[in-house]
């Protein structure tokens, strides 16, 4: 399987962001998401992007390396911006692109400076009071870790499927790309579910 850097990997380090508690980082991420959605206009997005770039730089990840590792997601953001520029207005395009890129960078800072295990503990602690309402914090935390894991796995499946389609001379066929990709992704989800079940994860 191809290695996809940054998307799910914790990078050990000693920066202040590495030392910050996982709960504080998750809360900050949540707050940033709410702010860029609630406050409209390109200025908020530009401000969020500036903060995100500053955090990437101070996390010790290396700004250039981070942007290179995320280039396909950033390209997607630019395509979204181009769509809004052509269909709506430059202001909306700028807002959408800066909001999206800022959140991608912030999420990358959180996942690379925080062990997933620490994030799970923070989620379990935060949701603890909701146990009486029927919420099962360990299950929510497990679902969170599976979402993080699914990003690089799905991208790897997409890349392998594209390679297989090209090898059969079907590189330009959307059906040859999408159908096996969806089937393999669903199959992988089923096998992962079985493995979790077998390990007794989610029983509590």
């Amino acid at each position: 399987m191809r290695q996809l850097p940054l998307l799910d990997a914790h990078r050990p380090g000693t920066s202040w962001l590495h030392r910050l508690p996982a709960g504080a980082k998750l809360l900050g991420m949540l707050a940033a998401g709410v702010v860029v959605i609630v406050l409209r206009g390109p200025l908020t997005g530009v401000g969020a992007l500036a903060v995100a770039l500053a955090l990437v730089a101070s996390s010790g990840l290396g700004l250039a390396d981070t942007l290179r590792a995320l280039r396909s997601l950033l390209l997607l953001g630019l395509l979204v911006g181009l769509y809004h520029l052509l269909q709506r207005s430059w202001a909306l395009a700028a807002e959408q692109v800066t909001d999206l890129v800022a959140l991608i960078l912030l999420a990358t800072v959180v996942t690379t400076t925080t062990p997933v295990d620490a994030m799970l503990d923070a989620i379990v602690r935060a949701l603890g009071p909701l146990r009486s309402l029927g919420v099962r914090p360990e299950r929510v935390a497990l679902a969170f870790s599976l979402v993080l894991r699914s990003i690089p796995l799905t991208l790897a499946v997409a890349a392998e499927t594209a390679d297989a389609a090209r090898a059969r001379g079907l590189g330009r066929s959307p059906r040859a790309l999408l159908t096996p990709m969806v089937i393999r992704t669903v199959a992988h989800a089923r096998v992962t579910g079985e493995a979790l079940h077998a390990r007794g994860l989610g029983d509590d």
């Binding site: 399987m1 914790h10 062990p115 295990d117 894991r149 077998a198 390990r199």
Partner: protein, 229 residues
């Protein structure tokens, strides 16, 4: 040893022309330390193994582990019976080696420091401690299977069911995992196509066409399978 019982267990699955029998009515009492299941592809041996952990529910009959009904007391059974799959990638859930073993320990170790310390000790037992902070995606096939085993054995189950754990491995890794499995203190139920490995068990069952075609000492079972395959 743990007592693994199949009491008139059958497994059927819906097919286009009615139910298809995956496993015919089978009664077994498994108490040996190392038990092998051999047989051709599609014979029902994986289904039989999956019954022991509750991954497959019987269509009729009952499966019991030390008297616990797998269908009714699945949670307790899964604490006693660990399961290792052919492809370890599906079993590795967390991004790094250490975190994946720690995930297994979340139920028993609430404190993170103690949990990580125990996970490191488990990794050391399997010689994986130098890889603790490595991404699971960068491991070799042998290292992944070893990690999957470590993740399951971290909680110290009484029984380990391994479904073709060496099939995807090269010769050296296949031998390493095979030797490790047979040397475990746990009771082992091993589904395998490696007949040399199967012959080293205490008891072997030849599964063919959805039924147990031979059940006896491992060497005799392997000889039977070689003669009839």
């Amino acid at each position: 040893m743990t007592r693994l019982e199949l009491d008139r267990v059958a497994v059927r699955a819906p097919g286009p022309d009615g139910d298809v029998v995956i496993l015919q009515e089978t009664t077994l009492d498994l108490t040996q330390r190392r038990i092998a299941l051999v047989g051709p592809n599609g014979s029902g041996k994986s289904t039989l193994a999956r019954l022991l952990n509750g991954l497959v529910a019987p269509s009729s009959g009952a499966v019991r582990v030390d008297g616990l009904d797998v269908a009714r007391e699945g949670k307790e059974v899964r604490r006693r019976v660990g399961f290792v799959f052919t492809d370890p990638s599906a079993q590795l859930v967390m991004p790094t080696v250490l975190e994946d073993v720690a995930l297994s320990l979340r139920r028993t170790h609430r404190d993170r420091t103690a949990r990580l310390a125990t996970a490191r000790a488990v990794l050391a037992r399997f010689g994986l401690d130098p890889l603790a902070d490595r991404s699971v995606h960068t491991l070799s096939g042998g290292q992944r299977q070893l990690l999957a085993l470590a993740g399951v054995l971290a909680t110290d189950p009484a029984v380990l069911v391994a479904d073709e754990p060496t099939t995807l491995l090269d010769l050296a890794n296949s031998r390493m995992i095979g030797d490790l499995l047979l040397g475990l203190p746990q009771q082992l139920v091993l589904v395998t196509h490696d007949l040399d490995l199967a012959a080293r068990c205490d008891r072997a069952l030849v599964v063919s066409g959805g039924r147990v075609a031979f059940d006896g000492p491992a060497e005799a079972a392997v000889a039977h399978y070689r003669a009839t395959a």
